[in-house]
Subunit: 188 residues, 2 copies
């Protein structure tokens, strides 16, 4: 257990989320919501070091094998991501009434030498709690990540997905570029 | 310009390349070569801080827009990657007779919370100088990166590529997984 003297901290500076211009989002929201105004009782913010107790790992287990992650495992990974400056932007939606994390997506910013030492974004590990359907929260968290990548100076953002999700991501502005849309994998 | 008092350093610990077991490579080499024994006059090693003067940026310009990268830009990016511990594994092939970098590929190791705080590898920015064809060097650098990802504990390694490269990567063990092989992109 953490002692009360330790204060929760954010994985990245939260103020950047307020800057995002949802007028530039590549989809329409009806009703209009944004990272700054996600709807009553909801908050879009960076992952916090106290999100272990707000159900973050249980939420991820809806996505894939969450595994048996202890509080210390979570805090160690959080600290390791934070040490890797300007790289990990795990972004969550909290139901502030319940104090529970109900959505999450991650922007990973990769540093390159090509393209004049460019930055390139990757969208990873998108999940919204099933019981919050119909609130545009999938669109909201993905658009937040996309706008964040642009705000941070990435020249592109990309993702890998299953066939069944292609229409959804297309509706959010992602393209399977002709002749250049193959994701290939070796599993160990 | 760097002063003579500054010594060149590697982006990551070179000894890990000697550990890689090319018996586990998912392709055959004829004649047999490996990261430890790449052939006469060739050396496989981590990117070094003096590779700007060995033509590293010019090599990348064969791949895409290299941009106008100064020595200081290169050194800044090198230092920034190195600060991001256990993440960037830019790996090069040097022609030791000429003192030139003639091949490069990058492993980016991404930290996750899913799958019990797993690591996942990405293969990026593969290039071999055109005039070194027929020496299996593309196979060599990609197999090096793949084995390195496994050695570092990644649960998978993936890449995005153009249609025309699918057969090549298939021959090296990469799969377009059925129903799960879409790379989608927004460019800014």
């Amino acid at each position: 257990m953490r002692s009360n003297s330790e204060e929760a901290e954010f994985l990245y500076e939260p103020s950047i989320l307020k800057k995002l211009d949802f007028g530039k989002a590549r989809t329409k929201f009806e009703p209009k919501i944004s990272a700054a105004q996600p709807g009553a009782g909801l908050l879009v913010r960076p992952l916090s070091s106290d999100d272990y107790d707000k159900g973050f790992i249980q939420l991820l287990s809806q996505l894939t094998k969450g595994g048996d992650v202890s509080r210390q495992d979570f805090l160690d990974r959080f600290a390791s991501m934070k040490r890797c400056a300007n790289t990990y932007y795990v972004t969550v939606i909290e139901d502030t009434h319940l104090g529970r994390v109900i959505g999450s997506a991650t922007l990973v910013v990769e540093q390159k030498f090509i393209r004049n030492c460019a930055l390139r974004g990757k969208l990873e590990d998108v999940v919204v709690n099933d019981s919050y359907r119909g609130k545009q929260l999938g669109k909201l968290i993905i658009s937040t990540i996309s706008l964040l990548a642009e705000e941070l100076g990435c020249y592109k953002i990309s993702l890998d997905c299953k066939d069944q999700l292609v229409p959804f991501y297309t509706s959010l502005g992602y393209l399977r570029e002709e002749g250049n849309a193959n994701s290939m994998t070796i599993r160990f």
